[in-house]
């Protein structure tokens, strides 16, 4: 198995996913199979090859630093599940 149950639990924690017991089991086996398949990339010796993060050779794009209108506040919070005044409302951190 390319990945253990404990590793899956740890990754779920990093990804902020509260996985149920059945999901955890299924993902452990599915991720194992997928990781076996994608590990094929390690067959190649690529020590001297630079990475590609972006397929176009573009240089940095600059924009003029000019003030302009942003979205009205009521639009910014319009889709939020919970709002208080001008703010997004969330439960306490602890």
């Amino acid at each position: 198995m390319a990945i253990s149950r404990d590793q899956v639990l740890y990754v779920a924690k990093l990804a902020r996913l509260e996985l149920g017991e059945d999901e955890l089991e299924r993902l452990t086996s599915e991720l194992g199979a997928i990781l076996d398949a994608v590990s094929k990339v390690s067959e190649l010796d690529l020590a001297d090859v630079p990475p590609t993060s972006h397929p176009l050779a573009v240089v940095n794009a600059w924009a003029a630093d000019e003030p302009r209108d942003s979205l009205p506040l009521e639009d910014v919070v319009r889709n939020a599940p919970a709002v208080e005044g001008r703010m997004f409302r969330v439960p306490p951190t602890t």
């Binding site: 996913l17 794009a61 439960p91």
Partner: protein, 471 residues
Amino acid sequence: MSAVVDTLRLTAEEALALVERGDVSPAELHAAYLDAIGERDAELHAYLRTVEYDGATSIPIALKDVISTKGLETTAGSRILEGYVPVFDATVTSRCRQAGLSVLGKTNTDEFAMGSSTENSAYGPSRNPWDPARVPGGSGGGTAAAVSAGLAPWGLGSDTGGSVKQPSALCGNVGLRPTYGTVSRYGIVAFASSLDQVGPVAKTVRDVALLYRIVSGRDPADSTTVELSEPVELPTSERLDGLRVGVPRQAVALEAIEPGVRAAFHSSLALLGELGAELDECDLPLSFDYGMPCYYLIAPAEASSNLARYDGVRYGRRSDGATYRETVERTRDDGFGDEPKRRIMLGTYALSAGYYDAYYGQAQKVRTLLVREHAAAFERFDVLATPTSPTVAFPLGDKAADPLAMYACDLLTIPSCLAGLPGLSVPCGFSEGLPVGLQLVGPQFGENALFRAGHAVERALELDLVPERLR
């Protein structure tokens, strides 16, 4: 009203001419498509929602539900965005509106555009107009089914590893994945940002070129966009004299290609030759062996980062917990379906400390080699030809339980996506009574050559691409 036009056969170009001559008003045309949707979409489920005519001056268009539409719910096929109503238009939506196009509705997609069948949509699958027991492909199966069944003259999809090209092939449409950077992603629900591109789907190559002309070009709101190096040309020539077509040996050798697809592909190669193209074999030694593994590291890694924004705080659904963290974790567990979760997990793992170099870093280096080997091929050729999909449309449920089998649907479309290259899928025949697509790949900004080649094939074949059961 539906008697005004037969939407089944109407191309976008013909529809534009009807409106221009005043034979049909934009309102009547919009209504005719809504009537067709009312008649046929209960079975096909191409649309997640439709829109009444809004006073636009030209013909209608269908937009995949990953494209933001101001005031109109946009879910990306996910429960986590249920009820989300964008407060701004995507740039491509604005460009369509500026061209006078009326939005007919939002089309179904695999959740967050992750899939090859639309079976991953949280709102239920779409079905193939040629055979409703089969999938329309994905992720943009909704747009493809709509265009094929006369429920839209044309539409926009998004393509990360084949989501425009593959459903176009499976439904008998023309679909373009443009050169990376030529169409703005501002307002598109992000999946894998170094790969995502918006692309047109239509009944003809000329329609696709026309829509590409409308939506392409630099957008200050997407800093990865560039101006086209040459204007979009609507193809007219029926000859392909002098066009150099390369056929990648390693693609043709793939066992995954069904015999019927292979036969249709080989006849289309013979046809290209008859039309004057110069064909020769070429080598892409790594692309078809390493493209898939490379893609399934890079795309999930980027997805895990892009999908981090769904936390139930600023938009979308929330599942309440006692603490902030519990709320975020519960929201994401309840809101995401199986495939996004798989990819978030895979991507998070590939990016995590201790594994980054072996997986994500290594995949980025493989990507460099794929870019290089495509560049080498284009020193000798103007266009590369392969089948678009190894199979015709498959029955619903066939691959749903096996993620790796589903991933293999994009075996032929993925390599050029990783290299940032444009690809056009054009119908080239039938197998088992279902459409087969020819994939034409060009060098960066090589769209005009693809249009030229695709148009000549289309004209020479004159296939009837209205699904037999709807004729």
